[in-house]
Amino acid sequence: MVDERDGGGFAERLRDARARRGLDKPAGTAAKDAPPSGAWGIGFRAGVEVVAALVVGIAVGLLLDRWLGTFPWLFLMFFFAGAAAGILNVFRLFNPRSGRRG
């Protein structure tokens, strides 16, 4: 009885002490810390994300147009899809996909 209570108390105290010291990382929270950077870093990253998505959208649109011979239409469609993907990328920058669901 005494031993049991002591044993449980010790395990609990050890766990508390380890948690206070930060030795046991709480599971699941580590995946959320994004790269640390200042306002410049975040602004630059957001800009790069938008431009990259736009470039991909325009390139895919132009390539499909050249293949199918429908010049302005697919280009226009993929241009706006690229812009939307860029905004999605910036959204993901602040709300990572992995943290949202499970």
Binding site: A31, D33, P35, F44, V48, E49, A52, G82, N89, R97
Partner: protein, 251 residues
């Protein structure tokens, strides 16, 4: 070198030149290749030399090697989880290669190979292909479900899939451009301020006092560039880990 023509020549530092004159010319071996080999050699030397003695109380080299190892190890395990340890060698090689490329480029007379988009894009494409192959190998056809988040209305499915695919394809480009643009911007700024100092210094006694300002700015810039060298290697590695996490867990 740039002040003679009264023009700031900040971009010639990125030009490729044959290594060792005619020998490099004949096999198309540029100074970028030489610096890449040097970076790989230095990393190998650090790890072999650092782990050779395996002392209980680490010496300087061992502490450096172990510090780098544990830093990347914690990064991979923290981002991907325990099953991400399989990818540790890949992320570690990538991180050390980018880091040494960035840091070597800060030495005088050295060449920054990470300031060439051909090289950063090759690295980013490697990450992209690896992540895609891993996702298909683990999840098979369910990988396509990645492009349609669950709970999205069926009417919007074509639009969402299109946007998700473009977003997925834009990853290697943003990965490559971020590293490349950071390195180019830093080195151009350093060269521009250094040229200011030379121009002012050639303008007599008053100019010599004026030249102190750009030199002081450059001293601060070099410190900042060392920070950027570490930060960009870290960002490259952590984004690789995030992409691997997405590929392994697929949601």
């Amino acid at each position: 070198m740039a002040a003679e023509g009264k023009a700031i020549d900040a971009l010639s530092q990125f030009e490729l030149a044959p290594f060792l004159g005619p020998i490099g010319e004949s096999v198309r071996f540029s100074q970028a290749n030489a610096h890449m080999l040097l970076a790989v050699g230095l990393i190998t030397a650090l790890m072999i030399w650092g782990t050779a003695r395996r002392a209980i109380v680490p010496g300087r080299m061992q502490a450096l090697a172990e510090g780098a190892y544990e830093f990347v190890h914690d990064l991979v395990v923290g981002q991907v989880g325990e099953e991400g340890k399989r990818f540790f060698p890949f992320v570690f090689s990538l991180f050390m290669f980018v880091l040494f490329g960035n840091l070597l480029g800060l030495l005088p007379y050295a060449f920054t190979f990470t300031s060439h988009i051909a090289i950063t894009f090759a690295l980013a494409a490697l990450v992209f292909i690896l992540v895609t192959v891993v996702a298909i190998a683990i999840h098979g056809w369910k990988f396509l479900g990645y492009f349609l988040p669950e709970g999205a209305p069926k009417v919007l499915a074509p639009l969402i899939v299109l946007i998700e695919i473009i977003s997925y394809l834009s990853r290697p480009i943003s990965l490559a451009v971020r590293l490349f643009a950071n390195m180019v911007a830093g080195h151009v700024m350093l060269k521009v301020f250094a040229t200011f100092a030379v121009m002012m210094g050639s303008a007599g006694l008053v100019g010599l006092f004026g030249a102190v300002l750009p030199i002081a700015l450059n001293v601060a810039m070099v410190g900042f560039e060392i920070l950027v060298a570490f930060l960009q290697a870290y960002v490259f590695a952590i984004l690789t880990c995030i992409y691997i996490h997405d590929a392994v867990h697929l949601h």
